[in-house]
């Protein structure tokens, strides 16, 4: 089934990371993982947070809060999880990327 929402490149990265962390990821850990994938480019926590909030609004993610901790200045962590709609969007993005890759493989000679 075609998903309602299409993803931008950065959103794909963030959604993939949230999926990988399997409900155990909050903004800081998600940002760390995204930074590993985007090296040497560094992504800020604020950028990741905004992307997460946007995807929450689109229904691609769900979230829950943990207890506040002193390390975070008494602020609670918010854990994110991919919803069924998010999984669908991720699968669609993967299929599109695979299709593109297959097509480009056919033209490998002309790309090199």
């Amino acid at each position: 089934m075609e998903p309602n929402e299409t993803l931008g490149q950065f959103e794909q990265l963030v959604l993939t990371t949230v999926y990988m962390l399997n409900g155990q990821g909050y903004t800081v850990t998600i940002c760390d993982e995204v930074n590993k994938m985007t090296q040497p480019k560094r992504v800020m926590v604020g950028t990741v947070h905004v992307s997460l909030v946007r995807m929450l609004g689109k229904g691609l993610l769900s979230s829950h809060f943990a207890n506040p901790t002193a390390r975070r200045g008494g602020k609670a962590k918010r854990y994110f999880q991919v919803t069924a709609e998010g999984e669908r969007a991720l699968r669609h993005a993967m299929a599109t990327a695979k299709l593109m890759s297959d097509r480009l493989d056919g033209l490998k000679g002309s790309l090199t």
Binding site: V45, G46, H49, L56, H64
Partner: protein
């Protein structure tokens, strides 16, 4: 003694300064960040960036990103167009195009930033208020009213703050412009008269067009029966329509005889428009159905037949897929244009200081009346829709015993 050791003193200064700077910066960022995002973002920044310089850079990026997100979420072409039109209406007669441009930009940017600050993102409803002994996590609460403030009190406080901030911004921009280059400033009389109209009308427009916490379900949580809600809404309609009729009857005299036939018909045309608007929503088959209420008919069954008829006398609205929906919207807009045109015309005259306009107190009365009618309209309409729904729901309940 260690207190007099110069190395220790130097160390304490070096550790004290970044900490204070960090606290100060955090305080400023907390005040600037959009209200609903600040708690979470600051927690993440505190954890992710222990070094001062990284923290400052991350804070700046976060403020930028948060406002970018919020501005996109609050983008409302209708609201922005109405605000722009109002600025032009109130200040365009100053014949100072550059001053008008400065004022327009300052006002609109302030309002956009203010919207971004107060907007509640759809997924931010979940509030971390668990005691420490409770479970490690709590499910996010689904947000029913996107963008609206959490409570009615906050909604009114935000509206009051909007007014105060806007007034301060307009005055500050005028003061700065006067100091920098006096000819670029708005003439004093134009600014005074314009602001007198602009600020209250702008707030009315914003309160009508922006989401608010109670607009969707006026009778939410009420234990009233469907019939009691219906009776209250009918009374509400009557209370709303009396001043509305007064305004229509009185206002049509305020417009000069631009068209030969305008005057004699001017108070009839809006009423005709409103009647047509009401009629469009009615299902004639249901409304005109004859109900026989003789003694040999079960009273409950008669009530079931009578109830849908009652709903047809309410402003129950039309579904967007209904073929008459475009006409329904056009007629509603047309009615309010006719209601507001005479007052707007008089305001325009007053703003221009043109001779022949009505006296300021009468104008104030007319203006307040019109604003009150517009402000209350959404509530009246929602109440009607809710009452109609309640009536239909009360019919559905005894559906197990179908009416023959």
């Amino acid at each position: 003694m260690s207190a007099h050791n110069p190395d220790t003193n130097a160390r304490s200064i070096y550790s004290w300064f970044p900490l204070t700077l960090r606290r100060g910066f955090r305080f400023v960022v907390k005040k600037i960040l959009p209200r609903e995002l600040q708690h979470e973002i600051l927690g993440d920044l505190e954890e992710a960036y222990p070094k001062l310089w990284d923290f400052i850079v991350a804070c700046i990026v976060s403020v930028w990103e948060a406002y970018r997100l919020q501005t996109t979420s609050t983008a409302d072409k209708l609201l922005w167009s109405a605000q722009l039109a109002l600025v032009l209406f109130c200040f365009a007669h100053g014949e100072a195009p550059l001053a008008l441009m400065i004022l327009t930009v300052v006002t609109l940017v302030t309002l956009i930033l203010r919207d971004a600050f107060t907007h509640r993102p759809p997924a931010s409803e979940a509030v971390p208020t668990l005691p420490s002994t409770a479970a490690d996590a709590v499910e996010a609460v689904v947000d029913p009213d996107e963008g609206a403030p959490r409570t009615s009190l906050q909604y009114y406080m935000d509206s009051a703050a909007d007014t105060a901030i806007l007034a301060v911004t307009v005055l500050a921009s005028q003061a700065v412009t006067l100091n920098l280059d006096a000819p670029l400033a708005m003439p004093g009389s134009v600014l005074f008269r314009g602001a007198m109209v602009f600020i209250p009308v702008l707030e009315t427009i914003r309160m009508v067009l922006r989401p608010n916490p109670y607009s969707k379900e006026p009778f939410k949580g009420s234990k009233l029966s469907a019939l009691a809600i219906y009776n209250r809404v009918r009374l509400l309609n009557f209370i709303w329509m009396v001043p509305c009729y007064f305004a229509l009857e009185h206002n049509h005299r305020l417009v000069p005889r631009i068209f030969p036939l305008y005057h004699p018909l001017s108070n009839l045309v809006p009423l005709l428009t409103f009647t047509l608007w009401v009629r469009l929503q009615q299902d004639i088959d249901v409304r005109d159905k004859v109900v026989i209420t003789t003694l040999d008919i079960d009273q409950d069954k008669a009530k079931v037949k009578e109830t849908p008829k009652k709903a047809e006398y309410l402003f129950k609205g039309l579904d967007k897929s209904h073929p008459y929906y475009p006409a329904y919207v056009v007629l509603e807009v047309l009615f309010f244009i006719q209601l507001l045109f005479p007052v707007s015309y008089q305001l325009w005259q007053w703003l221009h200081s043109a001779p022949g306009h009505m006296d300021s107190w009468s104008l104030l009365f007319e203006g307040v009346l019109s604003m009150a009618l517009i402000l209350s309209w959404r509530f009246v309409k929602r109440s009607n829709q809710e009452a109609a729904r309640a009536l239909w729901d009360s019919v559905k309940k005894p559906a197990a015993d179908p009416v023959t």
